[in-house]
Symmetry: C2
């Protein structure tokens, strides 16, 4: 007999599961319940329609109930909320939101893809009619309507995650004076604090007033706008407020279904996307996944995983053995002209769980620097200092960031090491790459560190002074005067170094640095073979400055 | 005692070897012999300086002898040619090209990186002063000088490989009417003929007169230019001629040294870059490598491999065990607004060696199609039909081609399968990718084929008619009228298909197709489960058209 599949939630995970289910079973009965009026829309495009980059609202509606039904023969019940699940009788309780009518619907199998809800902090003064969150089309419509009717001059975004940053950009594009308040010392939590520094600068370059290490204590609605009081006592006034502090898995239905909630607050599933309750599957933002690197539970509310998990749940329901291979957390965000991306573990996470790791920095051009338009990529690599296994990678830059992190995501997935990065055979012609790509260079550097051919000093160790080391700057004099230098550094440009060896002490460690680390490494090789005790500053002065500016 | 290393050739492989050698050994004596006046220059940038994109000639001189010496303490002897090698006495015979002075120089170890020479076909009428090849700075200077002094109105390029195509583009940018003559039915041999079709169109769109399947019989120098007679009897007149038919490994020195030449005409080395002659290493365009996929000997004259091989040779000379992991042939080329790239084996090569393979096509946007600026990528995937091992990938498009092929190059290197492509967790935000990237989609399609969930028909099988199949076009009517259709096709748009099943025959195979293959696949799933015999045209009408236009 044909199976009856009920899917709760009709967007990324749910719609993908429905489509795949129909492709696997032409005769199954497939019902999608969606609380909202919209299914299968582009959540990820919402900020860009607010900003005006995506001109047509319709472009966001990837499928309408009609088109989706025409293609996949689905019973799509929009504006219908599931209130409860009865796993014993295998049925759900639905309410038509317009009529208020409630009814039961039975299932053979159930897929939950209810997503997540924007986290709304318990700040006195919220809710109010000038404060918004952004999760779906109605949320977006509300924000756009407010911009159009109230013509706000100023806006504040709370939260420097993906959505907060995208919203700040969108508001600036609407010529609204925008501030961004972030509790932590950095925006974009998936990367480490120093990697966020160029992003802070980019936001400010585009007029965003960035307030790090700040939080809002209370909000007061007055005639001339919202008055925010910060924890430090300062007050701010704004015409509108966007809350983008993160999302919480929507586990409303878990209770009635007897589903288990994991330590991170998401629905627990196995690698078949099954909950422990028979015939109930869950996917998407609502679930906890296993982190690919740490094997620990994690929340990774992203569209790619949601889509693939929906497909896997449908596979397993319709008799195909299909396993989810855990989540690396590969993610990217546009920050005006910059992109920031990461995959695998970041340093914060590695440190938190006491993992063994080493790290290096490389700054390299996205394509041959002699070909016009080359832009710098700042690349951070985390790896196991013994095996060389790649643990994580982060990149920031104007171009080619997605490519580098996708390559790293693939390498991590394959269990590759930094030695594989040395060998990576990537596309090279001047407009697209370099004969030795940033990936190769980072592989060389990390491999040299493991082989003991390159002793490095971390810029973070230096920011509080270099103790008794001699700091040797091997940049050219014009670079020193143009960019500044590390305090107490002695400048001997690399081309002059070999003939200046007698000026250097053999009894003190020499910390050598250049702009990005390459010439410092060449100097390191020279000096160490001449019997000096040497370390090279990984990432050079550029990484040093990033550390200096953490949290600013 | 300090070792004495001689390097022949001071550009990609040679300069890299020298730099690495010095980093490994501060006290080695390192001599570079270079016939030319320039070392360490950007060969790959030459066409772009001719075209005017790279404005400054100096930008191509990555290192000068002075800067290279200042950094690495090298004995760089430019304009000095090595005439012979005496492997018994471990010495080379050098000639200073200016003075004509000849002398012997002894070595402990020798690295050959003499590169390749442009292949000059034995066409009567060559050489002449209007015919050029492009390998180095003097070649480039000659071409630029001719353009500046003679102001040629027309130019012909022979050869549609990387350099030929780059030169055609450069000449067009100099407002010279440019023709490109190619013997084969396609340009860009690393990809298969159908994948070159969009490139042929792109060349023509930019005014290049492209002549495929043509060759030049003879050349006659007259007052008003060169008169070319083609094999088909046609004649052409041109003001200048560029020969870009390919390169041959420079094995001039191999004889005197007793080196072995492999079946493809390159110097034979092992994976330590050692020739069978003790203490002689060879790298770069001059050597034969092993193809990563086929394990067969191959010539892959590219800069990335040359650079890495130089590093490996130096490693092994200075006591580090370092092995070259064979060459995949990852390569990319800009063709006006398009990029074309490939990695691994192409179909021609697989067929030639009788390998087992399957192939699929996917056409997908480089980033979310609802975000502005999305461009199509045409992607071809070759894989083992049983294990799913990835054998090769090719891509053509305006954006994101390098990224996709780099991901595939990494997967091939890791020995991954099409099932790993399904799971690939790549960067996604609307400006950078899609929740299901082209890589994922290609993985889905190939995996479905292997699992027997998706029976495909190859567009190449169809171009001579569909025999007794019913051809079913599931595109919308407006697409059919706008783009044309396959002869004798019946059109039932996908949304109407489920209610039109009774119009379809059960006794004939139905070949279904859409624009790119996706809707055709959805129709395939529907029809096959309703008991019809079905196949889906992989890559849809777009791939079909590419096949139709092969060689045009
Ligand atoms: C503004 C924004 C930007 C984003 N940008 C990116 C990005 O760039 N890249 C990226 O990877 N991810 C991005 N995401 C995240 C991505 O959209 C989510 O990870 C993905 O949509 C999760 O899919 P899901 O199916 O789990 O949940 P959703 O797509 O949220 O779908 C859940 C649906 O279930 C419905 N529902 C919930 N409970 C019930 C119920 N009881 N009864 C009926 N219906 C119910 C909800 O109404 C909702 O429509 C973004 C998200 C937002 C909001
Ligand atoms: C126009 C052009 C565009 C290219 N574009 C790309 C590209 O986009 N991507 C890519 O990957 N590759 C590209 N290449 C190929 C790339 O440049 C080569 O693969 C690379 O330079 C090979 O390095 P090599 O050291 O083997 O040879 P080369 O770099 O050619 O160096 C060899 C040197 O040896 C010298 N020499 C030879 N014999 C002697 C002797 N007996 N005595 C003294 N000196 C000698 C020669 O004068 C020469 O300078 C391009 C090449 C050209 C010419
Ligand atoms: C629109 C939506 C329902 C489509 O789901 P879908 O049909 O599974 O996905 P796609 O349209 O990408 O098609 C993928 C399928 O087509 C197949 N396919 C893709 N390209 C193909 C081609 N060229 N030839 C043949 N088949 C192809 C794949 O194999 C896959 O089928 P499978 O899962 O059975 O293997 C779903 O993606 C959705 O709701 N998206 C919007 C919501 C969302 O994701 N939001 C967050 C991101 S903004
Ligand atoms: C210029 C040239 C001599 C440089 O050779 P090189 O010094 O080996 O190469 P790079 O300058 O890229 O430096 C790479 C080295 O720096 C190290 N390095 C790179 N970035 C680093 C960083 N941020 N921190 C520390 N070390 C770094 C690498 O580990 C590597 O050293 P290793 O080989 O000892 O491990 C050589 O590339 C060349 O001649 N190029 C022009 C010719 C050519 O390639 N033409 C074809 C392409 S157009």
């Amino acid at each position: 007999m044909a199976r009856k599949l009920i899917i709760i939630g009709g967007v990324a995970g749910g719609a993908s599961a429905a489509a795949r289910a129909r492709r696997l079973s032409e005769d199954a009965e497939i019902i999608i319940f969606e609380r909202d009026r919209f299914i299968s829309f582009a959540n990820c495009g919402l900020p860009y329609h607010i900003g005006g980059e995506i001109k047509e609202r319709e472009a966001l509606l990837v499928q309408t109930p009609e088109s989706m039904n025409a293609r996949f023969n689905l019973d799509i019940r929009i504006q219908t909320e599931i209130l409860a699940i009865d796993p014993v009788n295998k049925s759900v309780l639905a309410r038509e939101l317009n009529s208020g009518r409630e009814y039961h619907e039975s299932y053979d199998d159930l897929i939950l893809s209810p997503g997540a809800r924007p986290f709304v902090p318990p700040i006195p003064g919220i809710p109010n009619d000038k404060t918004f969150t952004l999760r779906n089309i109605p949320d977006m419509d509300r924000i756009i309507r407010t911009i159009q009717t109230d013509a706000p001059k100023s806006a504040i975004v709370i939260g420097g995650g993906f959505i907060g940053v995208e919203m700040a950009e969108a508001l600036v594009q609407q010529n609204i004076e925008t501030s961004l308040i972030e509790l932590s010392n950095q925006i974009m939590a998936p990367v480490d604090p120093e990697m966020a520094v160029p992003l802070h600068e980019e936001l400010r370059r585009h007029g965003v007033r960035l307030m790090l290490g700040q939080s809002v204590e209370s909000i007061d609605t007055q005639d001339n706008g919202l008055h925010l009081t910060l924890q430090n006592g300062n007050t701010l006034t704004t015409d509108m407020l966007i809350l983008a502090i993160g999302v919480k898995p929507d586990t409303t239905l878990a209770g009635s279904a007897g589903l288990q909630i994991g330590p991170r607050g998401g629905i627990l599933v196995n690698d078949r996307m099954e909950t422990p309750v028979p015939h109930i599957y869950a996917v998407g933002d609502a679930i906890e996944v296993k982190d690919f690197i740490s094997q620990e539970p994690a929340l990774v509310p992203l569209a790619g995983p949601a889509n693939r998990q929906g497909r896997i749940a449908a596979d397993n329901i319709f008799g195909r053995q299909s396993l989810y291979g855990n989540t690396q957390g590969t993610a990217i965000c546009k920050v005006f002209n910059y992109a920031v991306a990461a995959t695998g573990s970041n340093e914060k996470a590695l440190r938190r769980r006491g993992a063994r790791y080493e790290k290096i920095y490389v700054h390299g051009a996205d394509h041959a620097s002699y070909y016009p338009g080359a832009k710098n990529i700042t690349f951070k690599l985390l790896f196991d200092p013994e095996s060389g296994r790649i643990l994580g990678a982060q990149a920031v830059g104007e171009k080619g960031v997605d490519k580098r992190i996708d390559i790293m995501a693939t390498m991590i997935r394959a269990g590759m090491t930094v030695f594989d990065m040395e060998e990576a055979e990537l596309c090279y012609a001047p407009p697209f790459g370099s004969a030795k790509d940033v990936i190769n260079q980072a592989g060389f550097v990390a491999s040299n560190v493991i082989r003991g051919d390159h002793l490095i000093c971390q810029p973070g160790e230096l920011t509080n002074g270099a103790e008794d080391m001699l700091i040797l700057d091997v940049r050219n004099a014009d670079e020193v005067s143009a960019c500044g230098e590390i305090e107490h550094a002695v400048n001997i440009p690399l081309p002059a170094l070999r003939r200046s060896l007698d000026q250097l002490p053999k009894d003190r460690t020499i910390l050598v640095y250049c702009a990005v680390g390459l010439r410092g490494y060449v100097a390191y090789r020279m000096l160490s073979q001449h019997g000096f005790k040497v370390k090279n500053l990984t990432g050079g002065y550029r990484s040093y400055q990033m550390f200096k500016n953490i949290g600013r």
